[in-house]
Symmetry: C2
DNA sequence: CGATCGTTTGATCCGCATCAAGATAGGTGG
DNA sequence: CCACCTATCTTGATGCGGATCAAACGATCG
């Protein structure tokens, strides 16, 4: 049916394998499968708007969502980019205001599952879900702090290099050669810089062995990368990119 | 006994009234009272260091704690300031690395209750605690995003004005006349700016009716305040200071 | 083939950091 | 009570990084 066409896997399988629902009883998963409604949002459309009451929370199956704010003078600020297996609306559900804090816009065609807020709050309260949510939020807090710190002590080029590193780490990409998952303008706003600044940062990284041509990225001079990126930030072992770097650098150096 | 001298209230009463433990069964509270050990950390001493294994989580009863990182070149970055009723180490407990992400330093003499990490994770898992934790972390995420956004679109003076507003809102201070709870240098680092910049921002605010002399603050020109602070940020109803402003401005204007 | 979108490059401006001196206040000992 | 000291803060001069405005470039598409 339609669902088969939209989803990467069936909704039931998707729920069974979702990291957010890891550790749940089968009965709980079945109840989630019953309540999870497929939800489709085409490219460029708005999934929900800042200020809207929180009616559902979403689990993304396919596609990419941009969260952003509008400033009073009409500019937009990208606060996050979410994709498969990420959630949408958690902070809305657990927040006190009952409204969404950001606009959510589909970058691609987006497929998600939606769960009614009330049902979820009242009935779906297993210890396992709470645990998973706590782990997710904790991770988000750590990463936010890390990025906030980077913005205050690093140059645009360094921030970008760190971002590319984290991208490799989180999406298991090969640093020697991978494709940017989003447009450069989207990444620029995601990193809180202007497209022009982003572009100039790319030029600087090129001098240091990180070559970006179109959407294609290849990182050559690894010692330099090590010197200029997360290895320099003060989060050390708290930073996923740093941990990943520690693990992968020796292997990568051998390839060099 | 000693505990009476250190704590504002007895540890038992403190636990019974702690927001974090709201909604718990009496039996759960009693178990917390049994396991919560008083913990004293004198001014300027370090409670735990970044990289230390997370052994406990803490609930502050008295005093102020600064969370910070060290950059590779020796500078320090204040990531948060916590005081009575705040927690310490939650992200450490729920994080995957099992280590603290920041240094925690006592600004004042600090009194706290500590709970062993393992006991807390294994035995203290009531739905109510999880709920409270989720609400706390959600709030923290929202505020972090808000501040990150402010740093990218506001000037130092505006950021400071917003901070003062939030201070009034969260600590129920009278905007017409209150005392800064921390030193100016601490607030400056908390806001991610240099002390010099902070000082110059004060001068600018003075022209706009926000007068700071020593630790004393008085906000006079409310329309100007409204124009220059959280009312301008894009979080609107998600921002506590904005909500508070909407509620309190009419009353304050009458006093003017 | 022009039109549009996404990106690059150039010139200029502004805000904050930095470096360097003063100023003020709180605390101590003579 | 005053002189001294240190901690905390203020003020001034300068430089750098990123935002802004403006224009050109390249790719894709009807």
């Amino acid at each position: 049916m339609l669902q088969r066409l939209l989803f990467d896997t069936t909704p039931a399988d998707f729920i069974k394998n979702a990291p957010l629902f890891r550790g749940l009883q089968d009965s709980e998963k079945n109840s989630l499968i019953k309540m999870g409604r497929p939800c489709f949002c085409p490219r460029k459309k708005i999934l929900f708007r800042q200020g809207d009451p929180v009616t559902h929370f979403y689990l993304i199956n396919k596609g990419t969502v941009r969260l952003f704010h509008e400033t009073p003078d009409g500019h937009e600020i990208t606060t996050d980019i979410r994709s498969a297996h990420d959630t949408l609306g958690i902070t809305g559900i657990y927040g006190v205001t009952g409204i969404h804090h950001s606009h959510a816009e589909a970058i691609d065609d987006v497929v998600a599952l939606e769960f009614p807020r009330d049902w979820f709050q009242n009935c779906a309260h297993s210890a396992a879900i709470s645990q998973n949510m706590l782990a997710t939020l904790t991770h988000r807090i750590t990463m936010q702090k890390l990025e906030a710190e980077q913005r205050s002590i690093m140059t645009a080029a360094q921030i970008l290099a760190c971002y590319l590193q984290r991208l490799c780490a989180s999406q298991k990409l090969n640093p020697r050669n991978f494709e940017l998952p989003y447009s450069k303008s989207l990444i620029a706003t995601r990193l809180g810089m202007k497209l022009e600044t982003f572009s100039r940062a790319l030029a600087k990284l090129r001098e240091q062995g990180i070559i970006v041509k179109g959407k294609n990225v290849s990182i050559h001079d690894l010692p330099n990368v090590e010197k200029n990126t997360c290895a320099q930030c003060s989060y050390k072992e708290s930073c996923p990119a740093y941990r990943s770097l520690r693990e992968t650098l020796p292997a990568l150096k051998k390839c060099a």
